[in-house]
Amino acid sequence: MTAAADGPRVGRRRISPAGLGLPACGLAAVGGFLLAVGHGAVQIAPGEVAAILGEQLGLIANADVTRAQETVLLAIRLPRAVLGLLVGAGLAVAGAALQGLFRNPLADPGLIGVSNGAALAAAATIVLGGAGVLGLPAWLVPHLLPISAFAGGVAATWLVYLIASREGTTDVAVMLLAGVALNAIVAAGIGLLIFLSNDQELRDLNFWLLGSLGGATWDRLAVSAPLILAPTLLLIAQGRRLNALLLGEVEAGHLGVAVERTKRTIVLLAAMAVGAAVALTGVIGFIGLVVPHLIRLLIGPDHRTLLPASILLGAALLLAADVLARTLALPAELPIGILTSTVGGPFFLWLLLRQRTQWAI
């Protein structure tokens, strides 16, 4: 009976999956980043990347690299890789948070209308923007597309949220359905704009709807990076509340969670992160859906590790996808959205068939 006197035995401290998984995802993100900055028509080894950066920071006097390597790294690869890092992280963490909030493994940032809302606003800007540009200050014109896309994404989500809210509470099932309905309406709007567009507009539109990390510059990053980074980092702090919400909203309330405020916060942060991501790169599918499932499979469903791990793995996967998009069809560049969907779709099906019983709701 000594065991009873000592109280129950606390399980021996094992190395938890989270203890290994999080550093592994971190390594994947670093690896993806080095691959993204190093691989391409001009090869730059990780040591050379370090040398160029060291020289820029004044740590090294004469780095043993070519001028071409330096230019390609600083002006093209680095901003593009930073953009990929941010967008992959933002899409994945938004997906993880929304799946938890909706208690639905099929929830995806696209489902609450944010992606399509952003796409419709962007399409309207591309096709109808010619006239709208008149009268706007000159500095604003290059930023018109990302700004309208961001506004469109957040506005669509807000509309979905309003439809699903009644007397101060929000029905997440109604919200999902409203998102589906809004997506259908928005898709019709995009179709109409495609019908109205001329050849050049059609090319721009198509490129944008399929997604691309091309065109990343430090100037554009400076404006929009905080818009992705801030909500992405703030979402990490919602882990404990999301865990409680998996029991249901009433039960989460019994556990001391301010349920309505939490729902509002998560929807707003996810819409901001995805809206800003879509504004910069166009629509990139499947990252937000697949990455959280991968993490649940590899590490487990606890949101306190799921959210940061999704950030790291989302960044790694998007960077890897972008390397493929840049190099598979040289000298042309594939739209990255095609790549993530052709790889992500079959992968998701495989995952679904493997664990069909587990996902039965």
Binding site: G7, V10, L246, H254, L255, G256, V257, R296, G300, T357
Partner: protein, 270 residues
């Protein structure tokens, strides 16, 4: 003391609570019985702050429930819901550990882990700790959630005040042995200074374990007394709309409620 005083609540245009009053003190094990739709669950939800009454007041240790911080309440009272579900592949130990989430930043991790293990041992689910929640039977799930709510209020707050357990039909899905085991656990919790309110459908379980029985009818607590006093054949027959008899067989400390002979047996089935 967790107390509802003359609470009224209308939901969907229908009055579900019409001036109900009930007090739960440290050491109490109160069973709430009554017919379907009488307002038992609504009363429990009002006591837990999941629902806010239109009129009347609910207080915890003399302070209106609305004035408490929700995390403070969550460290002092836990609620066992009916048929809760958990999505995503959580393991049993993780589900039980959710009960400690209101204590994040207040208690340290090691003591949280100890509490989780103790609570699992208390409800007999230690052997299920590493199983996936989704693979459990209904009864096993119920015991896992009981461990979770016990973990939530395992340690009383520093100021020496009591913790409360609100159980909404906790014996659902449990076999006969586990029904009694659950009520013994509730009794132990009350004996150690906590307060327990349990909605029960079986008046015999209520009679066997409760210190007090509250009978709810049409949104009001019509009887609130010790089992011997509360369980009158006339009252029960009228409240449940079924003639019953209250008998006291030799060797039973508490009364037994059985449907009256006229309503069961061969004649009734004709």
């Amino acid at each position: 003391m967790l107390a509802a005083c003359d609470v009224r609540l209308t939901r969907g245009g229908r009055p579900v609570l019409a001036g109900a009053s009930l007090a739960l003190g440290p050491g109490d094990l109160v069973a709430v019985i009554g017919p379907n739709g009488a307002g038992k669950s609504s009363l429990l939800q009002v006591l837990s702050r999941a629902l806010v009454p239109d009129r009347g007041e609910v207080t915890l240790d003399g302070r209106a429930l609305a004035d408490w911080h929700r995390a403070e309440i969550a460290r002092r009272r836990a609620v066992l819901p009916q048929a809760p579900n958990v999505v995503f592949p959580f393991r049993v130990r993780d589900v039980v550990a959710l009960g400690r989430s209101p204590h994040a930043g207040v208690s340290d991790r090691l003591s949280d882990r100890r509490v989780v293990e103790s609570a699992m041992a208390e409800t007999g689910v230690t052997h299920l700790a590493d199983r996936l929640y989704a693979t459990l039977s209904g009864g096993e799930r119920q015991r896992v959630h009981l461990a979770r709510v016990l973990a939530q209020v395992w340690v009383p707050p520093d100021d020496g005040s009591a913790c409360y357990l609100l159980l909404d039909e906790p014996t659902n899905n449990l076999d006969l042995a586990h029904q009694h085991e659950l009520l013994r656990q509730a009794h132990r919790f009350a004996a150690s200074g906590g307060g327990v309110l349990a909605i029960l459908h079986d008046p015999n379980l209520a009679a066997a374990y409760a210190d007090r029985i509250a009978i709810v009818r049409d949104g009001q607590v019509v009887v609130d007394a010790a089992p011997e006093t509360a369980l009158q054949p006339a009252t029960l027959s009228e409240v449940f709309g079924l003639p019953v008899e209250v008998i006291r067989p030799d060797g039973f400390a508490r009364p037994l409620i059985v449907p009256a002979p006229a309503t069961v047996g061969a004649n009734a089935l004709k």
